[in-house]
Amino acid sequence: MELLVASAIGILTAVGLYLTLRLRTFPVILGISMLTYAVNVFLFASGRLTIGSPPILRDGVASYTDPLPQALVLTAIVISFGMTAVVVMIGLGAYLGSDDDHVDDLAAPSDPRGEDAT
């Protein structure tokens, strides 16, 4: 079981990394989502794996899985939705504005906007 979860984390990370290194916005966004899965599962796994004992208190049950990582990951999932949405919006805005969905902006250094006015 542990090996399955660990290797799943590894696969998610590898795919996430590979896609993050692509040149267009859409695969990069998917890559970030994959990395989010990996991180969330990893955080969740820090409570160690327990099967069949959810942290819902019941009379007569003494052992439960660790609830704290679950609470942390729950908010992380919701926040990562917000983050994905913002990243998608930024990528979309960039594409609609310039008709180009490359993530690299290699023209930036010669941009003189950094100069000050006075």
């Binding site: 399955l4 290797s7 959810p54 899985t65 949405a85």
Partner: protein, 954 residues
């Protein structure tokens, strides 16, 4: 009045002028004046206590662990400076009321002025050096705003920037120095530090601390080699120059040297650094001042020179020197502020400050002439005026000071400086007011109204009174001197009087005045000589230094930050991997303490699906629609995994988030190309694959090792499990953690979520108001449309299940405290129900039925959660302490009511609002000109269509 109030009044008052702006200039200045007057009166109520030798203090702990507390104290020195700041402040406010032109924004000006005033009072009353630093930086910032007040003048902007750069840098140095000092003394309280002279001076850190603190003082008080910013700051309106750059801010460095005098002075390092800097500044400033043609520049360099004089006196380290310094601070503040205001009057009336274009003004402006002449003569050191007294004390002190083993050096330089000082004072009188009346003034000069001349006239009164009857100032000077000395030195037995007998200082004074007159007589040739000498221009050097710093940072930044996102990502990935490798090779791993659990067929099947989908994602990622489906499978498998591994709440959250994320990505994909072209080379792809594989292996190895070992310390979850029901009243521990134990975290997180949604909304607005709008409207579909935009089946179905889904959401919300569920999940479920209406019936139809804007929903959610938290204050508990009670309303079962539920309601509302606002923003982009917005939910409606055909037939 409490010291807190004295310091807080200007800050609170700073809100008023801006508000009063529309009420007129009179009201604006009036409210500023009243605030300052109130603070001054508040300060004066403490005078009796200070006079009787008491130390007035006020204390509130702010960050006690850092040693940063709001502690204020008022002794003689603080009282003296605070009195100067507020007293001269009153005159400046009155003067500024008449000085500023009609088109100047007066509210803005007075707001900055009060901010500055508050910061300044804060500096002189702080008992905690960290607090002092805060106020110190505030003066730098507010003076930046004041110097640059006339934003349309490039000199103003440049001067403001230079002042900020120099004083800001000094401030940074001083932070270091103060921290060192606090470390040595073991406390950041001045009252403690001042008692530890021996300890501090014996410390090896004394010299670094001293140098850093002096850097702060020297930059602030414009001491050589940092003197150059002050003249450039003169681009500020004259009231600012008179207030900041003669009477108060530039004295902050002096104040600090005086404040620290008992612990820092008396060592050879202090003596050499401070005396040399002061002496150099004094001579240099005086010489440059003589040859300046701009009245304010002349006064600026003269201020530099006088500040040097005071610094030099403090540097000698003797009690007499300290007393002379205190006396000269008082005298200089009076005559120099009066002179600045006179210069402002001349500028205001004659429309020029160039001395070469002035002259003969004594007939045209007799009142100004009288004021300026008295003040300038005092500056020159003419007897019966206060400048004479302190200058003679300075010369007296100079004759006793031996620097670099050369007994004549200090007296000679001091006399030399005084000589130039006398010369420029005489030049100011002679070249501006005396001489024949000219006919070519830019404007016809005449005396201004009383509003402008009364403030400087009031300042000239002490100039004359102290000059004639110095014993009147003696109690004040002695009291302040005693405060400066602390316990470090005996009070000098000297008295303030005009005639000390035929002492060397008198002869030096006579040489200075005589020499000054002689120098002015040969001013023409001297000026030629001066103009023909090459000398380094401080501004050029400063600009070159700044330019090279900017160029350097630009090279570094652009070298590292070239806009290639993939490169950053690669560098980051490799760095993390390298760090992990380092940890792996240098650290040690204990033996496995947990046994592996057996994996049945179900987990293996799930794992296979996840792996297949992930690998498929890599292979097919160029087909964007397919990759969306594949990532959906991954998300689904993760949710199933959560169910399997005892995390029902997580599973429910993950699966609902999955739905909205996929909808969101689909909406985005509507505008993006549907395929990713092949661009990267095989080499590049191999490189990326290698990095990805290494990263994946590392993550796998890390998790595997992690999962087979117990945690290092006992997890705190035991506490949560034990107290969830007892303390939080719920059996779903995850939910209780979210809304109760770690409610504050959750509160922060829903705020972040709300901000993210608002950000998306704002980005959409920007897009739709720009050139993109036209392109979006005229976009041609790149794929064939479905014939039926709003399929009837789907419309009917979503309409029918809407109430069902809402009820499910409500149920999940209610059971959340005890069973899997809660605000987050319920919010997501309800969002999905609403999104389905948008999808089925169209944007126009759905948004026409929207009764509450989503912004409002987000705001209400955050507000409800916040108010729930605040509610516990009324019960005397900390923020977000929850309370619950079991109630029974027949015929229902007994049920629980908890305040946590109200908090969860806030979470619910925020989630709904945030999700809907994001998705709605995206779908607003989708509106096109070739699609008629339909008010009908369905494209095909038999009843409607029949009627129209019937009508057409009839």
């Amino acid at each position: 009045m409490s010291l807190f109030l004295v310091v807080a009044l200007p800050f609170l008052g700073a809100l008023l002028p801006g508000l009063m702006n529309s009420a007129g200039r009179q009201a604006c200045a009036g409210v500023t004046f009243t605030v300052t007057l109130a603070a001054l009166i508040g300060l004066l109520t403490n005078v009796p206590a200070v006079m009787s030798g008491e130390l007035v203090t006020a204390r509130v702990d702010w960050l006690p662990l850092l040693g940063l507390n709001v502690t204020l104290m008022l002794d003689g020195l603080g009282l003296f400076f605070a009195g100067l700041i507020l007293g001269i402040g009153l005159l400046i406010i009155a003067y500024a009321r008449f000085y500023l032109a009609r088109e100047d924004n007066m509210g803005e000006f007075f707001t900055y002025l009060l901010l500055f005033q508050g910061a300044m009072v804060g500096i002189v009353l702080s008992d905690n050096i960290l607090l002092l630093l805060v106020f110190w930086e505030l003066t730098s910032l507010s003076s930046f705003l004041l110097i640059g007040y006339w934003k349309h003048l490039p000199e103003g902007r440049q001067g403001a920037r230079m002042a900020l750069a120099v004083t800001g840098m000094g401030g940074l140095a001083m932070i270091g120095g103060m921290l060192l000092l606090g470390q040595i003394a073991g406390s950041y309280d001045l009252s403690v530090i001042l008692q530890n002279r021996a300890l501090i001076q014996a410390s090896p850190l004394y010299v670094p601390a001293l140098i850093l603190i002096l850097l702060g003082c020297f930059t602030k008080s414009a001491q050589f080699p940092f003197h150059f910013w002050l003249p450039h700051a003169m681009a500020a309106p004259t009231p600012v120059s008179a207030y900041l750059h003669s009477a108060t801010m530039v004295k902050a460095g002096i104040f600090l040297m005086a404040r620290m005098w008992p612990v820092l002075s008396g060592t050879p390092e202090w003596f050499v650094i401070v005396t040399t800097a002061g002496l150099t500044t004094m001579v240099l400033g005086a010489v440059i001042a003589l040859f300046k043609h701009d009245l304010k520049a002349l006064l600026a360099f003269s201020t530099v020179s006088h500040l040097g004089l005071i610094t030099m006196l403090l540097g000698t380290g003797t009690a007499f020197g300290a007393m002379a310094a205190v006396f000269h601070i008082l005298n200089h503040a009076t005559f120099k502020a009066a002179l600045f205001m006179s210069a402002g009057i001349i500028d205001h009336e004659a429309h020029t400050r160039d001395i070469r274009r002035l002259g003969g003004l004594r007939h045209l402006m007799p009142i100004t002439f009288g004021i300026a002449t008295l003040a300038a003569l005092s500056m020159a050191g003419i007897p019966l005026l206060n400048g004479f007294l302190s200058k003679e004390m300075m010369l007296e002190e100079a004759t006793h000071t031996v620097l670099f083993n050369t007994p004549w050096l200090v007296p000679a330089l001091a006399t030399f400086g005084s000589l130039f000082s006398a010369a420029y004072s005489f030049r100011l009188i002679g070249h501006v007011f005396l001489g024949p009346v000219r006919s070519d003034y830019p404007a016809k000069p005449h005396d201004p109204g009383a509003g402008l001349w009364l403030p400087p006239a009031l300042l000239v009164v002490p100039v004359v009174v102290i000059g004639v009857a110095p014993f009147l100032a003696e109690p004040l000077v002695k009291m302040v001197t005693a405060a400066v000395l602390g316990g470090a030195a005996e009070m000098p037995k000297a008295y303030l009087k005009i005639w000390h007998g035929l002492v060397p200082a008198l002869y030096l004074s006579m040489i200075a005045i005589g020499g000054g007159i002689a120098l002015l007589a040969i001013f023409g040739p001297a000026l030629k000589l001066w103009e023909n000498t090459r000398r380094p221009e401080a501004k050029t050097i400063f600009d070159a230094v700044i330019d090279s710093a900017v160029a350097l940072s630009r090279r570094v930044v652009h070298g590292a930050h070239n806009g290639a996102f993939t490169r950053y990502a690669l560098i980051m990935a490799i760095t993390v991997l390298a760090a992990g490798y380092h940890a792996w090779t240098t650290g040690s791993v204990g033996a496995a303490t947990r046994a592996m659990q057996p994996a049945g067929p179900v987990p293996i099947a799930g794992w296979l699906m996840l792996t297949a989908a992930s690998i498929g994602l890599v292979i097919f990622h160029r087909n964007r629609l397919l990759s969306l489906i594949l990532i959906g499978i991954v998300g689904l498998m993760v949710s199933v995994g959560f169910v399997f591994l005892s995390a029902p709440d997580l599973a429910m959250t993950q699966i609902t988030v999955e739905v909205v994320t996929i909808i969101l990505l689909l909406l985005a994909l509507n505008f993006l190309p549907k395929r990713t072209p092949i661009e990267s080379t095989v080499l590049r792809r191999t490189r990326d694959a290698a990095v990805a594989l290494a990263g994946g292996l590392a993550a796998m190895a890390l998790s595997f090792h992690y999962l087979l070992r117990e945690s290092v310390t006992t997890p705190i979850s035991g506490f949560h499990l034990a107290n969830s029901y007892k303390g939080g009243g719920g059996t779903n521990v995850v939910n209780v953690i979210l809304v109760d134990f770690r409610g504050f975290d959750t509160y922060g997180e829903i705020i972040v979520l709300g901000i993210a949604a608002l950000l998306i909304y704002a980005l959409t607005e920007t897009l739709l108001s720009g050139p993109v709008r036209a392109r979006l409207l005229n976009r041609l579909p790149d794929q064939p449309h479905a014939g039926d935009m709003h399929p009837m089946m789907m419309v009917v179905l979503t309409r029918v299940i809407m109430p069902v889904v809402l009820m499910v959401g409500f149920y999940i919300f209610l059971r959340g405290h005890n069973e899997p569920g809660g605000g987050f999940i319920a919010g997501l479920v309800v969002s999905i129900a609403v999104v389905m209406q948008y999808m089925a019936s169209g944007f126009t139809w759905a948004s026409a039925r929207l009764r509450y804007p989503y912004h409002g929903v987000i705001g209400t959610g955050v507000l409800v959660a916040g108010l729930t938290g605040i509610g516990s204050w009324f019960a005397g508990k900390p923020f977000l302490t929850s309370y619950f009670e079991y109630v029974r309303i027949p015929p229902f079962e007994k049920f629980e009511l908890a305040t946590a539920m109200a908090f969860d309601l806030g979470v619910f509302l925020t989630v709904v609002g945030a999700v809907m606002l994001s998705l709605e923003s995206f779908s607003r982009l989708a509106r096109r000109s070739d699609m008629e917005p339909s008010e009908h939910p369905m494209d095909i409606d038999p009843s409607r269509d029949d009627r129209s055909t019937a009508k057409g037939g009839a």
